[in-house]
Amino acid sequence: MAQNALVDPKSTPSEGLEGVTADWSGDKQVFPVPWGKAMMWIFLLSDTFIFSCFLTSYMNVRMSTTAAWPNPSKVFSLDIGGHEVPLLLIAIMTMVLITSSGTMAMAVNYGYRRDRAKTTALMMATALLGATFVSMQAFEWTKLIVHEGVRPWSNPMGAPQFGSSFFMITGFHGLHVSAGVVYLSVVARRVWTGFYDRKGTYETVEVTGLYWHFVDLVWVFIFAFFYLW
């Protein structure tokens, strides 16, 4: 199989490490995917490093501070009928984002089946869930800034680094969600108007999906390290 690949580039590509060598060698395209998809993956790789730097700096300040770290379980609890339910808002936000990832995955599927109505509807549902997430985050920020008096430089509940880490990490993530809502709306509109039928491919929907799933992926790490730790 590997020898065939060298003789005839059109033959079935070899698998495993031999496949890696074959893909990177010779005058040929390395990744047999649409360029937009390869570029989105590389962008997401760089974004991974940005979010990791934020989370690592958060780890560093949390480890090095001598002031008490506020208990996120209490800070982000909601009062439901006189009961303090820990982290309730954050749990709902997590579920909303996961649901939006599910609708996005199905939108990609229907896109490749050229079902414009379903693709548009699922993408708009994804965007709507994203907007819901950002609204809940706005509510959470308001609660923390107005009622608890947390600032990026100070925090009445303990370590001031809590404020700076919180606003930096969730703010940057919320910005990604907001940008994603705009991105989804633009692509959904193009699906609806038949732009991708004329273009002949629905790969843009999959590329948009990659971005959206990444936003969900980052939230998984923020939820674990910032809210649960």
Partner: protein
């Protein structure tokens, strides 16, 4: 895995990633279950090593499902998998160094101000 491979054979000349909707619904359900598990870790107030290992376990399972299935990484060629998934491992070095630095800063602060 047969049910995943079969539709691909049918659409041999079709574009992009085609998988049955059923696969996505399954993963969606699993993500809900594992999110609930990680929420329950907090709800039942587990502490110490148990809490941290459960948080990391559920986090990695969720991240793996999202990347492998929703982002289709499981079906991509190894060259793309390596190019995207290997570089972030460098971050482990950064995390290790910053953990050492953080511990040291805490020790010096404790010694200097916190008495």
């Amino acid at each position: 895995m047969n049910d995943i491979a079969a539709p691909e054979a049918l659409h041999e000349h079709a574009e992009g990633q085609q998988h049955p909707i059923r696969v996505y619904l399954w993963i969606w359900g699993l993500l809900f279950v594992f999110s609930t598990f990680s929420y329950l870790v907090d709800y039942f107030q587990f502490h110490g090593i148990l809490r941290w290992s459960l948080i990391i376990l559920f986090m990695l399972v969720k991240a793996g499902l999202i990347v492998a299935i929703f982002m289709h990484m499981a079906w991509e060629r190894l060259a793309l998998k390596i190019a995207i998934l290997l570089p972030p491992l460098c971050l482990l070095i950064l995390i290790g160094l910053m953990a050492i630095e953080g511990t040291h800063t805490f020790a010096t602060r404790w010694g200097a101000f916190a008495r």
